[in-house]
C-alpha cells in the first residue's frame, strides 16, 4: 500500500520534471523572442490588427456602410484619408472593419485545426492498430486533396458563404498536417521511460496523454499553427478573388483587394494598395512570428 502511494508520488514528480523541462523550454523561448526585433515588430502588428478586429470603433467613427454615391472613387484626402470605393464608402473605415473577417477566419480556423489535429493525432498515435489505420487513411484523403480545390468544392456545396463557412472549410481541410505532427510526437514519446513508468503505475489513458505526452507535441504544433494563421488570412483573400469566398456586402480585405485590383491601372491604385498593405503586413507578421518561434523553440538552432 505505502509502496504504491510512494510510487504514485514519484511518478507525479517525474511528470512534474517533464513539465518543468518544457516550462523551461518555453521560458527560454520567451527570453529568446524578446531579443528578436522581428518577433517584437510582428507581435505589435498582430496586436494592432487584432484591436481593429475586436474594437473597430477605437479606430474610426465612420460607418463603412454609409456610402454617398456622389463621392464614388474619391482619391485620398483629408476627409477620407484612404479615399472612397466605387459606391462612395469611406475606404479607411472599410479597411479597419475589414480586419475582423480576416482575424476571425485565421484565429478560429487555426484553433479548430489545432483541436481536431491534436485529438486525431493523439488517438491514432496512442491507440495504434485499426484506429490508427482508419484515421491515417482519413488524413490521407484530406491531405491529398489540394487545399484550394478542396476549399472550392467544399464552399461551392454550401448555400451561403459567411466567415463561419470559410472557417469550416479551412478546418475540414487543414487538420491532417497537425494530426501527423501530433501522431509522430506521440509515437516518439509513448514508449519513453517516464511514460511507461506512469502507465505501469496505473495512470489513466487520459492522464498519460494530456499530462505526459501532449506537452511534447505542443512546440512543433504551435509553430505550424502560427504560420497557418498567416496562410489562412491570405487564403481568404484568394477565395474572395475566385468568387467563392466572402460575399459583399460583407467587408473583408480579400473582397477589397479582389475588387480594387482591376482599378489599379485606371487611376485608382488606392483601392488596391491600402487593403493589400494591411493584409500583407498581417500575413507577414504571423509568418515571421511563427518563424521566430520555431527558432526559439528549437535549441539545436540556437
Amino acid at each position: 500500500m505505502t509502496e504504491q502511494v510512494e510510487s504514485v508520488i514519484s511518478a507525479d514528480r517525474s511528470a512534474q520534471a517533464g513539465i518543468e523541462r518544457s516550462a523551461s523550454l518555453w521560458a527560454d523561448a520567451w527570453r529568446d523572442l524578446r531579443r528578436r526585433p522581428v518577433a517584437i515588430a510582428s507581435a505589435v502588428v498582430i496586436v494592432l490588427v487584432s484591436s481593429m478586429a475586436a474594437f473597430p470603433w477605437l479606430w474610426t467613427r465612420t460607418d463603412p456602410r454609409d456610402c454617398p454615391i456622389q463621392l464614388s472613387k474619391a482619391t485620398p484626402s483629408a476627409a477620407h484619408i484612404f479615399g472612397t470605393n466605387e459606391l462612395g464608402c469611406d475606404y479607411y473605415a472599410m479597411t479597419i472593419y475589414g480586419a475582423r473577417a480576416s482575424i476571425i477566419v485565421a484565429l478560429v480556423s487555426t484553433s479548430l485545426v489545432l483541436l481536431v489535429g491534436a485529438l486525431v493525432g493523439m488517438a491514432a498515435g496512442f491507440y495504434g492498430g485499426w484506429v490508427d489505420s482508419v484515421l491515417s487513411r482519413l488524413a490521407d484523403i484530406f491531405f491529398a486533396l489540394p487545399f484550394l480545390l478542396g476549399a472550392l468544392v467544399f464552399l461551392s456545396m454550401l448555400r451561403s458563404h459567411s466567415v463561419w463557412t470559410i472557417v469550416l472549410a479551412f478546418a475540414v481541410l487543414g487538420w491532417p498536417p497537425l494530426a501527423r505532427i501530433v501522431r509522430a510526437s506521440v509515437l516518439a514519446t509513448k514508449n519513453m521511460d517516464y511514460v511507461q513508468a506512469a502507465r505501469s503505475l496505473g495512470a489513466s489513458d487520459r492522464r498519460l496523454l494530456f499530462r505526459h505526452i501532449l506537452p511534447n507535441a505542443a512546440a512543433p504544433a504551435i509553430v505550424v499553427a502560427t504560420i497557418l494563421l498567416g496562410t489562412y488570412v491570405a487564403s481568404e483573400a484568394t477565395l474572395s478573388y475566385l468568387g467563392i469566398g466572402l460575399q459583399p456586402p460583407e467587408i473583408s480585405w480579400g473582397i477589397m483587394i479582389a475588387q480594387g485590383q482591376s482599378y489599379v491601372t485606371s487611376g485608382y491604385p488606392h483601392l488596391l494598395l491600402f487593403p493589400a498593405a494591411f493584409l500583407s503586413a498581417t500575413v507577414l507578421a504571423f509568418i515571421l512570428l511563427g518563424d521566430a518561434l520555431r527558432d526559439a523553440l528549437d535549441p539545436k538552432l540556437r
Binding site: 484523403i141 491529398a144 468544392v153 456545396m157 485590383q261 493589400a276 500575413v283 518563424d291 538552432l301
Partner: protein, 349 residues
C-alpha cells in the same frame, strides 16, 4: 488481374520492397474510395442545396419542363434523389464506380468524355508544375544556401523577408503585377524591337501554343513564388544542421576547402529533405495553379476543376480531383521508396 500480374506480385512478395509496395498500394484503395465518396457527396449536396446546374444554362429565360429535363439528362442530374437535401444519392455513386471500373469517367455538360478533358488539360499543367519545381530548386535552394551559410547575417534576413513577402502578397496580385510589368510593358517593348520568338514567348501575357515551354516560364515563377519561402527555409535549416554534423567537421579537419565541404558534402545531404518536400508538393502544384492558370490563360487542370465546380459538373470534379489524389499518393510513395534506396539508414517497413 490476370496470370502474369499475379505471377509478378508473387515474384515481388519475396523481396521486402515488393511487400512494402504491395501494402502501400493496397492502402490506396480505401483512400481513393473515401476521396471518391467525399467528392461525390459534396457535389451532390451542392446540387441539392444550390439548385440544379441544368437550370442555369437557360439563364433568365424560364425553360419548359421538357427542355429542363433534356438538359438534366445531359448534366446527369435527372435522378430524383437530387431533389432531396441530404440524400447521398448512393445509386448514382455506385453507378459512377461501376462506370469508372470500366474506364468510363463520365462526361461533362457538353457530353465530352472526362478522359478527353484530362488528356487536354493535364500535359500543360504538368509542364507548368515541372517548371515551377525547377525554379524552386534554382532560386529557392540558392537563397536557402545563401541564408544558411551564415545564420543571422544580413543575407539571412534579406532571404527570409523577401521570400516571406511573396507569400504575404496574395498570389493574384503577384500574378497580375507580373503580367502587367513583364508581359504588357516589357513584352510589348521586346516585340517592338523585334526580339526573337523565344524571347517574346518568355514574356508573353497569355499561354501560347507555339511556345509551349517558354510562355509557361513566367507563370511558373508566379506559381513557385508561393512555396519559395518554404524551400529556402528548409534548405537553410537543413544546411545549418548538416554544417554542424560530425562528418563536416571531419572533412574540414582533413583539410578540404570550405567550398568543397559545403558544396559536395553538406549541401548534398541537405537537399534530401528539400527534394522530398518538392516531390510532395508536386501534386499540390498541379492543382494549386487555379489562380495562376486563370491569369495567364493556361488551359490546365486547376482551371478545369474550377470551371466544373462553377457549372456543377459532378462527373468532372469527382474524377479529376480523385486522380489528383492518386497522383499525390503516388508521389509520396515514390519519394518514400527513393528515400530508402538513397539512405541506407531508413528501412522500409
Amino acid at each position: 488481374m490476370g496470370g502474369p500480374g499475379a505471377g509478378g506480385l508473387k515474384g515481388l512478395e519475396v523481396t521486402p520492397l515488393g511487400r512494402y509496395l504491395a501494402r502501400r498500394l493496397l492502402q490506396f484503395v480505401p483512400t481513393l474510395l473515401g476521396a471518391l465518396f467525399i467528392l461525390h457527396y459534396l457535389m451532390t449536396v451542392g446540387i441539392q442545396l444550390n439548385g440544379d446546374p441544368a437550370r442555369a444554362v437557360f439563364g433568365d429565360r424560364t425553360p419548359s419542363q421538357s427542355q429542363l429535363q433534356a438538359m438534366q439528362r445531359v448534366f446527369g442530374t435527372d435522378d430524383p434523389c437530387f431533389e432531396q437535401a441530404g440524400n447521398p444519392c448512393l445509386t448514382v455513386f455506385v453507378h459512377r464506380l461501376e462506370n469508372m471500373a470500366q474506364g468510363d469517367f463520365g462526361v461533362d455538360s457538353r457530353e465530352r468524355p472526362v478522359v478527353t478533358l484530362i488528356a487536354e488539360h493535364a500535359p500543360i499543367t504538368a509542364r507548368l508544375a515541372l517548371l515551377a519545381i525547377l525554379i524552386e530548386l534554382l532560386v529557392g535552394v540558392t537563397a536557402g544556401v545563401l541564408a544558411g551559410l551564415r545564420g543571422g547575417s544580413f543575407w539571412d534576413y534579406v532571404v527570409k523577408v523577401s521570400t516571406t513577402m511573396l507569400v504575404a502578397i496574395p498570389i493574384f496580385v503577384v500574378g497580375a503585377v507580373t503580367q502587367l510589368v513583364l508581359g504588357v510593358e516589357f513584352g510589348s517593348w521586346l516585340k517592338g524591337v523585334g526580339a526573337p520568338d523565344l524571347l517574346t514567348g518568355l514574356f508573353s501575357i497569355a499561354y501560347r501554343t507555339d511556345q509551349p515551354w517558354a510562355s509557361l516560364v513566367m507563370p511558373a515563377f508566379v506559381l513557385a513564388s508561393l512555396s519559395l519561402a518554404t524551400t529556402a527555409r528548409l534548405t537553410r535549416t537543413s544546411l545549418m544542421e548538416n554544417l554542424r554534423g560530425d562528418y563536416v567537421r571531419t572533412a574540414t579537419a582533413k583539410g578540404l576547402t570550405r567550398n568543397r565541404v559545403v558544396g559536395v558534402h553538406a549541401l548534398r545531404n541537405s537537399l534530401i529533405p528539400v527534394i522530398t518536400n518538392l516531390g510532395i508538393s508536386f501534386g499540390n502544384l498541379l492543382a494549386g495553379a487555379v489562380v495562376t492558370e486563370g491569369i495567364f490563360n493556361i488551359r490546365g487542370i486547376g482551371g478545369l476543376v474550377f470551371g466544373a465546380v462553377a457549372t456543377g459538373e459532378a462527373a468532372t470534379v469527382v474524377s479529376v480531383v480523385t486522380i489528383l489524389v492518386l497522383v499525390y499518393l503516388l508521389c509520396n510513395l515514390i519519394i518514400d521508396v527513393l528515400y530508402a534506396v538513397l539512405d541506407p539508414r531508413i528501412r522500409l517497413d
